[in-house]
Amino acid sequence: MAQSHGMVERRGAGLWLSHVIMICGVLLVFFPIWLAFVASTVTQPEIVRPPMPLLPGEHFWENYKAALFAGVNVPVLQMLFNSLVMALGIAVGKIVISLLSAFAIVYFRFPGRTTFFWMIFITLMLPVEVRIVPTFEVVAGFGMLNSYAGLIFPLIASATATFLFRQFFLTIPDELAEAARVDGAKPMRFFIDIVVPMSRTNIAALFVILFIYGWNQYLWPLLITTDPSMNTIVMGLNQMFPSGDDVAEWPVIMATSILAMVPPIFVVVSMQRLFVRGLVDSEK
């Protein structure tokens, strides 16, 4: 009895300690974001004059309005829209293509099935940066520079997602496919009525990951968009930084940074709920 009491106390202490450590960690990580937020609510002279302010100023609306509708090179609203199209296009495209290719690899026996699987798998080892020159050549040849198509298509195939869906499909019992066959479902019907609904938690999880992947693309948009109106927010943000003798509009740049963070956070928070509900409702 006494011993178990002691164990509870020790666990209590451990609980406090771990919370203290976690809170410190959160503060540490959150501090730069806080600074960015503070910087986006004050004026340029207030930032450059030391010490830097640590509490928000009174120019929130002013700075954000300037960023959204005027920007430095192009209105941030336009860049946000471009990023949204690109991230959604990549996430949705990757999921659709991966679902279909994983379905083909798992459920159909066709000549070269394993070869194709390994070909897809090997491309995992080739990130965008490695194949960027030939990809640029191809996209330029198709006249897709400065277009949404050019932003989306080269990044739309995903070996990772194909691999994940393949692994998931392998866990679906064969008898389910057979039952559907006895029920008279043709392969695509089986895919749409049974495989896709069963994969929806995986789809939600992948959507979060892929949306952020698409949103954070930097090098590729930088290469193929020369027209500022096609800039995405992550690269556009970088282009706002002054070169040479230009004066940096730090409050506007910081407001843009904060704005660039909002959509991914929104996606993570909203999809996380669906993702968790999917896990709790696990139907296997």
């Binding site: 008898e175 389910l176 006895v182 019907r189 009525d193």
Partner: protein, 353 residues
């Protein structure tokens, strides 16, 4: 409703032959149980009838139509799977109606058919639940319901009760049989459980190593097993088998005289069911008891036949509740009708007359 004929069905996976030619004609409305140990090819045979496996050789006829190359849906069959194979993301109602929906029936018609089947299976309350919210027995009923709504000519069951507990199994066994009799639908039922085979079958196919050892009614198989395998597989506890020989029309195990047989002299395999060993102080069979298992209604006695080579033997004593204190060898006799003789090489039944 339809007849089913299998004509010399063979199946190979690559170089491995798993089914070596099985032929059977199944009458309209008959309930056929395919029984055998795991790996004997019984499920493969059923899946070939369903159209889920290709047929290597031979013909499958349903309602006198050759269906070898037809898709499962075109064969007018319904199948109940071992793990039920319910679609986890659909309600019970959607699960049962899915086949009808694909067949393109109107919503109203699907609704009424599903309601009818649900009423029959006492699933009405559960129609809007998901499979994971159901117990094993209820899932089993839904799987049955999915088969019934389609009003097929043939029901196929692939070990449907093996995931249920013993009590539920007995109950579902009766329900399945009752439903099948109500609808009069020709049925093929695969199981490894000889009790299910005995209780449910109109006729059973005893399979071993891809061969049909015997096809017959349960009592035929019990009373006149055609092979040693069928003799030992059907009946519980399993039949005792002894190395015996015949000399001058008398069957001996070693020097113990068992009974008469009008067969030529030579070695034989002798089979005696445990329940056919009758205690008899004058009997020629003397068993030294090693262990007893009281089952309530009867008691199993495991021991050794008192003969120079000490062969193991099991006897089932009806109405005997307690064997404690019985240490001395007990004597038994066996009726002449209850002696089964098998050829020691081919393991086929030797007819005694």
């Amino acid at each position: 409703m339809a007849t089913v004929s299998l004509k010399n069905i063979k199946k190979s996976f690559g170089a491995v032959d798993v089914i070596h030619g099985i032929s059977v004609d199944i009458a309209d409305g008959e309930f056929i149980v395919i029984v055998g140990p795991s790996g004997c090819g019984k499920s493969t045979l059923l899946r070939m009838v369903a159209g889920l496996e290709t047929v290597t050789a031979g013909d499958i006829l349903i309602a006198d139509q050759r269906v070898n190359e037809k898709e499962p849906m075109e064969r007018d069959i319904a199948m109940v799977f071992q793990n039920y194979a319910l679609y986890p993301h659909m309600s019970v109602r959607e699960n049962m109606g899915y086949g009808l929906k694909i067949a393109g029936l109107s919503k109203a018609l699907i609704h009424s058919k599903v309601e009818d089947a649900a009423k029959l299976l006492q699933l009405t309350e559960l129609l809007d639940r998901r499979p994971r919210q159901l117990s094993g027995g209820q899932r089993q009923r839904v799987a049955m319901g999915r088969a019934i709504v389609r009003e097929p000519s043939v029901f196929l069951f692939d070990e449907p009760l093996s995931n249920l507990d013993a009590k539920l199994r007995v109950q579902m066994r009766l329900e399945i049989r009752e439903l099948q009799q109500t609808f009069g639908v020709t049925s093929l039922y695969v199981t490894h459980d000889q009790v299910e085979a005995m209780t449910m079958a109109d006729r059973m196919i005893v399979m071993n190593d891809g061969v049909a050892e015997q096809i017959g009614t349960p009592l035929e198989v019990y009373e006149r097993p055609q092979t040693l395998f069928a003799a030992q597989f059907i009946g519980s506890p399993a039949m005792n088998v002894f190395d015996a020989h015949i000399k001058d029309k008398v069957v001996y195990v070693d020097v113990v005289k068992i009974g008469a047989a009008r067969l030529p002299d030579g070695p034989v395999k002798l089979g005696i069911r445990p329940e056919h060993l009758v205690p008899d102080t004058e009997g020629s069979i003397s068993i030294e008891m090693r262990m007893s298992e009281p089952l309530g209604a009867n008691t199993l006695l495991h021991g050794r036949l008192q003969a120079p080579d000490d062969q193991p033997v099991t006897a089932s004593l009806n109405g005997v509740h307690n064997l404690e204190g019985v240490q001395a060898p007990m004597r038994f006799s066996v009726a002449a009708d209850n002696i089964h003789l098998f050829d020691p090489v081919s393991l086929k039944r030797l007819e005694d007359d």
